[in-house]
């Protein structure tokens, strides 16, 4: 069975301003209702397929992000949500920032926006599904 029909997500707030966070949460709620696609926010890396990260990486949370990523079961995908998660946005200039999420873990999908809108977030997750499916097939053939 394809992983496409049941992607479970975990959301971690890197060092975002909450703007993208609440938009991720808004995706769960009645207007956007991502459970239509079988998506559940499981909140536990061991159960999740897709790691959504909002906000950039700073000194302290880089190990957290790495830990969470390591604890996810293969196949897994990472979606960086919002300008900060993609590049660090204008916080990139701050002394405590390392930059986008791709500085610590491989990112599969970048979702732009400040704050990223729910529609775009859903779009990003759907893109991640294709990535996941590919990884799954690779795993089967390997």
């Amino acid at each position: 069975m394809s992983i496409k029909k049941s992607p479970w997500i975990i959301h971690y707030d890197g060092s975002s301003c909450n703007g993208c966070d609440i938009e991720v949460l808004a995706c769960l709620t009645p207007l956007y209702d991502i459970e239509r696609f079988g998506i559940i926010n499981v909140g536990n890396p061991k159960h999740a397929d897709i790691l959504l990260i909002t906000g950039g990486v700073n000194q302290q949370n880089k190990t957290v992000i790495k830990n969470l990523y390591d604890q996810m079961a293969e196949p897994k995908a990472v979606v960086a949500i919002g300008a900060c998660a993609c590049t660090g946005h204008f916080f990139a200039e701050c002394y405590n920032m390392l930059g986008g999420v791709d500085t610590v873990i491989p990112v599969d999908v970048f979702v732009p926006g400040c704050a990223a809108r729910p529609e775009v977030i859903i779009d990003g997750v759907v893109k991640a599904l294709a990535v996941l499916e590919k990884k799954q097939q690779e795993k089967v053939t390997a």
Partner: protein
């Protein structure tokens, strides 16, 4: 021989029925929350996906203990459908549950173990009522033998309204629904992360879901036994009770363990034992 066939049919049909019921549950829940909800077959998609994932473990035992739990839970359902002794079936289910708790303990991870302790608390709250229901059914029908209960001429419900109510009360614990989803909930937004199942990943989690399906069918069958003499009424009653549980799930916050334990025991004593005492005196 007939019993064996029934048992096997029960074991085979349970995942299908429970999965579908689970899917319908999720759709109804979504509708109650003003959402569309997932496809009805979503539980199957979930479980199949989980089987296709990596099996992340902390040590080589906890996955095995989940398998043990599944074996006994399946056995409980099998024995139930085969028409064996009701108490023995319940004990088999308890053993299945104990193995699940042990699996959580064996991971040696804080949230998982806290979940295990909470699960024990849930068992402590729910088990008396379930066993008392069995005693009630015995008092009403004169037997613990499920075959005889099911083929009896009168239903236990007419003698046991209080017991039935008590059972519905603790059913929420068994179905892991609000307000009593303390050890692990369908939604992860609780203080214990996923509690009991925090450390189960991939196939282990899939097994955990399947165990839950069997458990669901088991308790629903228990409800059915109250109406056993009239199968149609029984099935309707089961559906109504399940719908009621969904409704309760949606209109309650999760309570704390002390309230759960105290209220479950008080309900068990007042409605369960009270009903039985009345029955004993009047008979």
């Amino acid at each position: 021989m007939n019993a064996w066939i029934w048992g096997i049919v029960g074991i085979l049909l349970t995942p299908v029925v429970a999965g579908l019921v689970g899917g319908i549950d999720r759709v109804i829940t979504a509708k109650m929350q003003g959402r569309m909800g997932p496809p009805v077959l979503q539980p199957f998609y979930d479980v199949m996906k989980l089987f296709s994932k990596q099996n992340l473990v902390l040590n080589r035992f906890h996955h095995d203990l989940v398998i043990c739990s599944l074996i006994f839970t399946v056995a409980a359902v099998g024995l139930l459908f085969a028409g064996e002794n009701l108490l023995m079936c319940i004990f088999a289910l308890v053993v299945g549950n104990v193995f699940l708790v042990l699996a959580a303990y064996s991971t040696n991870s804080p949230y998982s173990m806290l979940g295990a302790d909470r699960e024990l608390l849930q068992m402590l709250a729910a088990e008396p009522m379930i066993l008392l229901a069995a005693v009630g059914i015995y008092m009403a029908t004169g037997t613990f033998d499920i075959n005889l209960i099911a083929s009896g001429t009168h239903s236990a419900i007419q003698y046991l309204p209080g017991v039935f109510f008590g059972l519905i009360y603790v059913l929420t614990i068994k179905l892991r629904k609000s307000p009593f989803d303390l050890s692990t909930s369908h939604h992860a937004h609780q203080e214990l992360v996923k509690g009991l199942s925090t450390e189960f990943a991939g196939p282990s989690l899939a097994l955990f879901e399947i165990i839950h399906w069997y458990e669901t069918v088991f308790v629903m069958a228990l409800i059915y036994l109250f109406f056993a003499s009239r199968p149609i009424v029984g099935i309707v009653a089961v559906l109504i009770v399940y719908f009621l549980e969904i409704l309760i799930d949606n209109i309650n916050a999760r309570v704390k363990w002390d309230l759960m334990l105290a209220s479950a025991w008080v309900i068990t004593l007042i409605f369960g034992l009270g009903n039985l005492m009345l029955l004993f005196i009047l008979k």
